[in-house]
């Protein structure tokens, strides 16, 4: 968690993604025009979110088997950053849609599905906020975490595929013809996904380190952190 090599890799990948994303050639398509470059920035937000939620679920399972509260801390911080990524993904998606599909919200199945996924995890935060006892909170939120993740996967993957959608790759749509990426885009897309995910990982580890300091402080000096509600 405190090593630098993957952080350096993250920065290099992101610099490549941004520079290459703007400058390298992309396929010429009607309606989307240059905005197809958003593929390198909007889509990795969602990939990052899913990966972060997956890691959080893994830590929830580890907590239930070990009882170590630090695992619960890890799980909740991964969800926090995952939710940030999902908000960014949703906002950027709406911005993109405003100028290509005509309106920011069009009740597209993928938009609805991901909005539901966000609501599921916001409900996780509500659940956590309501329980005061640490051990109980950790156990109940771990159970909900696993349940929510297992339910979210079919909802995001299966549902949009069954229904016609504006999103590229589903049904008939303006934009890409088929969802096989042009090989020139793959060159920037895959590194971009890895880079954005590593950034999310970095952000999460920073939050975890902060929480560990607060956690230790709380155990050493309980009076000082009386006002901290979310240790």
């Amino acid at each position: 968690m405190r090593q630098s090599w993957w952080k350096v890799l993250c920065v290099l990948l992101l610099m490549y993604a941004v520079a290459g994303g703007i400058l390298l050639p992309v396929p010429r398509l009607d309606i989307v025009n240059e905005t197809i470059r958003n593929l390198y920035f909007h889509v990795p937000m969602w990939f990052g979110m899913i990966l972060l939620f997956l890691i959080s679920c893994v830590y929830a399972v580890r907590f239930l088997s070990s009882g170590n509260l630090k695992h619960d801390l890890y799980a909740s911080e991964f969800i926090n950053v995952g939710l940030l990524f999902s908000i960014l993904g949703m906002v950027t998606g709406m911005e993109w849609a405003q100028f290509t599909w005509g309106s920011a919200w069009s009740n597209d199945p993928k938009q609805l599905g991901t909005a539901m996924a966000m609501l599921i995890y916001f409900a996780y935060l509500v659940l956590r906020g309501g329980i005061k006892d640490e051990e109980k909170r950790a156990r109940i939120s771990a159970v909900y975490n696993i349940f929510a993740f297992a339910m979210m996967i079919p909802l995001i993957w299966v549902l949009p595929r069954m229904v016609d959608s504006l999103h590229p790759g589903n049904g008939g749509n303006p934009g890409f013809g088929a969802y096989d990426l042009d090989s020139s885009m793959r060159l920037v897309f895959y590194p971009a996904v890895i880079g954005w995910f590593l950034l999310g990982l970095w952000m999460t580890t920073l939050r975890i380190r902060l929480r560990i300091i607060q956690f230790d402080e709380y155990n050493d000096y309980p009076d000082r952190l009386k006002n901290e509600t979310n240790v």
């Binding site: 010429r28 009607d30 905005t35 958003n38 960014l88 906002v91 950027t92 920073l206 000082r224």
Partner: protein, 75 residues
């Protein structure tokens, strides 16, 4: 001075003939290399700015939290 004005004028005139070469494009899909002012590249700029703003907000929040702890530790 006059020579410089004349040269500038001629260069501008030459540059203005560029659009005549665009016939080679074919179906006329607009891209940024043809016209810088095509609105749609700015959507990409907007998306990048949004993501950047989100990350900066996160960093600011983190910074405040660390500052609070350091202040607590000092007292």
């Amino acid at each position: 001075m006059r020579q410089m004005y004349k040269r500038t004028y001629l260069t501008a005139l030459l540059l203005m003939t560029f659009p005549l070469f665009l016939r080679a494009q074919g179906q006329g899909t607009e891209m940024a290399d043809l016209m810088r002012s095509n609105g749609k590249i700015y959507v990409v700029v907007l998306v990048l700015a949004t993501i950047f703003a989100g990350i900066i907000a996160f960093l600011v929040h983190l910074d405040c939290a660390i500052k609070k702890i350091e202040r607590n530790k000092k007292s």
